[in-house]
Amino acid sequence: MKKAQVRRIIVSGIACILLMAVSAWYSITFNDSRLVKPMDASEYSFQIRDLPMLISTILLILYGVYLVFLLVRAILDEKSRETQMQTTRRINPKYGFFGFFGLFYEGKLSGTFMDERFRENQMKAHMKANQTAVKIIFLATLVLGQGKLIGNLEYTLIAFVIIVALSLALEVFLGEYLLYRYDHDDRIEESEE
């Protein structure tokens, strides 16, 4: 992304936030805090003085949608660049201290030439990681869905969210770890000529 574009995005964000702050101040000072204080939406009736808050809210939402669009586009660009790349991306293993999210193992394989066997191993490792995560989530849904293990709906939901988040983290870690293991196991057996 070019610097000018980054500057434009940041300036637009600051402008949206400033506009929202000014509108909120206007609403608090001259409009009885309408659309600032929590209110019953079913009893809402439009007044001309609500316009600043409405406009700034719409602009803020549009800005958020634009950011999400940019994020999705950046992810897709990165994916297509990765498939065209001949070597794995260069990462220092120190970034993944304690093996968090597989960065440690990705770092150990950084700059490796990706031939067809490496890509095959990569696919196998990611599939295995996906399967493991899905199995854990499925089991958690099955057990927690009964509602009898903890007994309290709120705690059950909290436990479920924690399990799903940890499963996703495990998936990211396992994908890189298994790939490293598949590749590393090959190297142990290495023999020249």
């Binding site: 490796t112 030439f113 031939d115 067809e116 066997r117 490496f118 590749d183 090959d186 190297r187 057996e189 290495e190 023999s191 020249e192 000529e193």
Partner: protein, 66 residues
């Protein structure tokens, strides 16, 4: 247990090539050539053809499927 026999090592040595040289010519890592020679990796058709052209031997004589 591999389901094929690979005679790549023999044909490579006939051409006086190292694993590294062959790997560079067909665009894979040396570990892949090593795996192939041990019949522990089933190559894609493209890689099999590239290897066959490089060592100048027919595919069916390099990779023998049982």
């Amino acid at each position: 247990m591999s389901d094929f026999e690979c005679r790549l090592k023999m044909y490579r040595q006939l051409k006086n090539m190292t694993q590294e040289q062959l790997a560079n010519q067909v665009g894979v890592r040396r570990e892949t050539i090593m795996r192939l020679e041990k019949a522990q990796y089933n190559p894609s058709l493209k890689l099999a053809i590239d290897i066959s052209r490089t060592v100048e031997a027919p595919i069916e004589e390099i990779f023998i499927f049982r």
